[in-house]
């Protein structure tokens, strides 16, 4: 049985149990002291107003996502968390997903004055401080088809040991299995002219996806400063996409196809994240040094990249309840236009409005401007509660003035509007 079908079977069981049992509470079972059932259902629709640039692409899509979850805790503090995700998309099969977001056992204890925490299983780990891009964050693979903003991640199997004390927090990670990045299929938007074929992925390591990746992080707070230093050694989460021309047995152009084959290389990355928090101001820096990865043109090139900026919030402006936050960040990559992403020399400007009303309304406007190619990418988001369980998320994304030499040129006609309704239980 494939992992996917096992997951689907266990999920259907979980949903049944959730319907029968109360959602939280103390249980009579002597082992389990506390349990919770919770989760979300959501429907989302995206509309692409421009006609597609590539054959096979559609103008709309609709998806349904269920995230049933379970939490169990014993009297001594040991706990098990299970957060699952099922996604169905009516347009692009590559967006269908059955994922274990989290499925881990958590153990706790003390060593002298310090404490240890061990998480075993699938989990999400976030590193970093910046908003326009999560540069140092590397443990979890990106679920790119969920949202092109790279904020959504896939569950990662790991053993994660945390030691903490007055001296700071040290974390060690052993990552025994690599997850592949999700990419849009032939019918999907927000892709290049050629489709990425995940069935043809390759690994630089002979151990392929079973290569044991290792990572470590140390973090500490000193007064207004929060600092983190990290290292990762293993399979890159960001593959080099190699164009492949494949023809049938007879040399006939009609039987040929071009696709992109992901190549996951062995890399080493050193990361630094730093935030200074003062009254109103947050000043942020993330920087990495990565070796072993290929650049946009498929040549190995070690590089340094950073994102630096700040955030300032005006609270209760003009005696209203509205808070207005202003953000500015600069992204830089030493590979310049050979960078394998769009952040080689880009300025991000944004504003976040929190209305602090009963519906919890917030609005976000942002623009990422490429200083080399001239491309501007606008993003607007709104969140608002409709009642205690139901909330609305609207998003608009607009690409403008896309330069011919910009990596996003292939998706220049993929501006979109999305509507998302989420029910929480």
């Amino acid at each position: 049985m494939s992992p996917g079908s096992v997951l689907r079977r266990s999920l259907s069981g979980l949903v049944l149990v959730a319907l029968v049992y109360p959602t939280t509470g103390r249980t009579d079972d002597s082992l389990i002291d506390y349990h919770e059932f919770y989760g979300t259902f959501s429907v989302e629709s995206r509309w692409f107003p421009d006609s597609p640039a590539h054959a096979g692409q559609r103008d709309t899509d609709a998806s349904f996502v269920a995230e049933p979850s379970l939490y169990l805790e014993t009297a001594d503090g040991t706990s098990f968390t299970l957060e699952t995700l099922l996604r169905y998309d009516n347009t692009d099969a590559e967006r269908n997903l059955a994922d274990l977001r989290e499925a881990y056992l958590l153990l706790l204890g003390l060593i002298g004055e310090d404490e240890w925490e061990l998480r075993l299983g699938y989990d999400h780990v976030f590193w970093g401080v910046a908003e326009s891009r999560h540069l140092v964050d590397i443990v979890n693979q990106t679920d790119l088809v969920a949202n092109p903003n790279e904020e959504v991640k896939l569950g990662q199997p790991m053993a994660h040991l945390t030691l903490s004390g007055e001296w700071g927090v040290a974390e060690l990670f052993a990552l025994p299995w690599h997850r592949s990045r999700t990419y849009p299929g032939r019918h999907g938007r927000l892709r290049g002219a050629f489709v990425v074929d995940n069935g043809r992925e390759r690994y630089e390591s002979a151990a392929a996806e079973r290569h044991l990746d290792l990572a470590a992080r140390y973090s500490q707070s000193f007064g207004p400063f929060d600092i983190g230093v990290s290292v990762f050694d293993g399979t890159s989460r960001e593959p080099y996409l190699e164009p492949v021309l494949e023809c049938g047995p007879v040399p006939d152009p009609a039987l040929c196809r071009v696709f992109l084959a992901p190549l996951y290389e062995q890399i080493r990355q050193f990361g630094l994240d730093l935030q200074m928090t003062t009254e109103g101001w947050l000043l942020k820096l993330e920087a990495i040094r990565r070796t072993g990865a290929s650049n946009l043109f498929g040549r190995k090139e070690d590089f340094t990249a950073f994102v630096a900026g700040g955030e300032y919030t005006f609270y209760s402006v003009l005696e209203s309840d509205i808070d207005v936050g202003l953000l500015a960040e600069w992204n830089r990559d030493s590979r310049l236009l050979r960078a394998s992403n769009v952040f080689q020399n880009d300025v991000f400007l944004g504003s976040r409005l929190a209305f602090n009303d009963i519906e919890g309304t917030d609005l976000f406007f942002g623009v990422l401007a490429d200083l080399d190619t001239g491309t501007r990418s606008f993003n607007v988001q709104m969140n608002r509660r409709l009642d205690d369980s139901l909330s609305l998320h609207l998003e608009g994304s607009l690409l403008e003035n896309v330069g011919e030499d910009d990596p996003v040129h292939a998706s220049r006609r993929d501006s979109f509007i999305s509507v998302n309704l989420t029910y929480g239980f």
Partner: protein
């Protein structure tokens, strides 16, 4: 949200929470109104300290002028740190879209506090600024400064007089915040002269118009020392909106795990 030595949430509760015994601070002697007001506040603080760890569930009912209602549910834990700043956790349960969101506050005596926000969707712990004093707490009529910072040294006081309140007699004191970013020009507080519980607070805006009135009811005695109001109602006179806070499962001197009050602990809160 500047939290000081005194624990944030009890600060509001403690405004009315005074213990028995000890002489009245308003004893007849020749003192200025400022001195007399300060003595009442100092007395209140002295009697409210030493409550140990604190844990409670809080329900807030938010009402619009038209009578529409919505609820907020959260839990609060406070770890009392002797010779240091207290540590506080807020965990949100409802509405559902903020479920699992949590704040961790490390109170600092002499500088601004350290506040971390946990966002469960991204598993992200974010350090945030502590300067949002006058902002609304979760869309309610309570501002952050109403439920947090009541540190004596951050106000000036003045005794205004005594007047009847129900079957009791109350002293009325005025206090003025020394914080630049406070939303108020002054506050008037009614304490009864028997147990020093606060029954009413009036908040005046920067133009010195009456902005909000807080009334406390359902006082209960805890650990035979501390008076806590079971319910607090804040009415905004400008907007007609109101918020009622009800405290459930209020426990003093409760045993709490110090390990939960760290950045690592914040990620595993339930």
């Amino acid at each position: 949200m500047t939290y000081m030595k005194q624990s944030p949430v009890p600060a509001l509760l403690l405004a009315g929470m005074m213990c028995l015994g000890a002489g009245s601070p308003a004893v007849a002697e020749e003192v200025s109104a400022e001195e007399r007001g300060l003595r009442i506040a100092l007395e209140a603080r002295e009697r409210s300290e030493g409550f140990g760890n604190f844990s409670a569930s809080l329900t807030m009912v938010l009402r619009t002028k038209q009578g529409q209602e919505t609820e907020r549910h959260l839990r609060i834990k406070i770890l009392e740190v002797i010779d240091g700043g207290d540590k506080t956790i807020f965990i949100f349960d409802e509405p559902r879209d903020v479920r699992g969101t949590a704040f961790l506050i490390h109170t600092n005596r002499d500088e601004s506090d350290d506040i971390w926000l946990f966002l469960p969707a991204l598993e992200r712990v974010k350090r945030i600024s502590s300067s949002n004093r006058s902002g609304s707490f979760m869309g309610s009529e309570f501002a952050y400064e109403d439920i947090t910072d009541q540190v004596i040294e951050k106000f000036t006081y003045r005794y205004l007089g005594d007047e009847p309140c129900g079957d009791l007699v109350c002293t009325v004191i005025e206090r003025v915040s020394l914080e630049e970013d406070s939303g108020y020009s002054r506050q008037l507080i009614w304490h009864d002269t028997e147990e020093y519980r606060s029954w009413k607070v009036e908040f005046y805006d920067r133009r010195n118009d009456l902005l909000k009135t807080l009334t406390a009811t359902d006082y209960e005695l805890h650990l035979e020392r501390f008076w806590y109001a079971g319910q607090q109602s804040m009415v905004n006179h400008r907007t007609g909106k109101s918020t009622v806070m009800s405290w459930v499962d209020l426990q003093l001197g409760v045993e709490l795990d110090e390990r939960d009050f760290t950045r690592t602990g914040l990620k595993r809160l339930r």
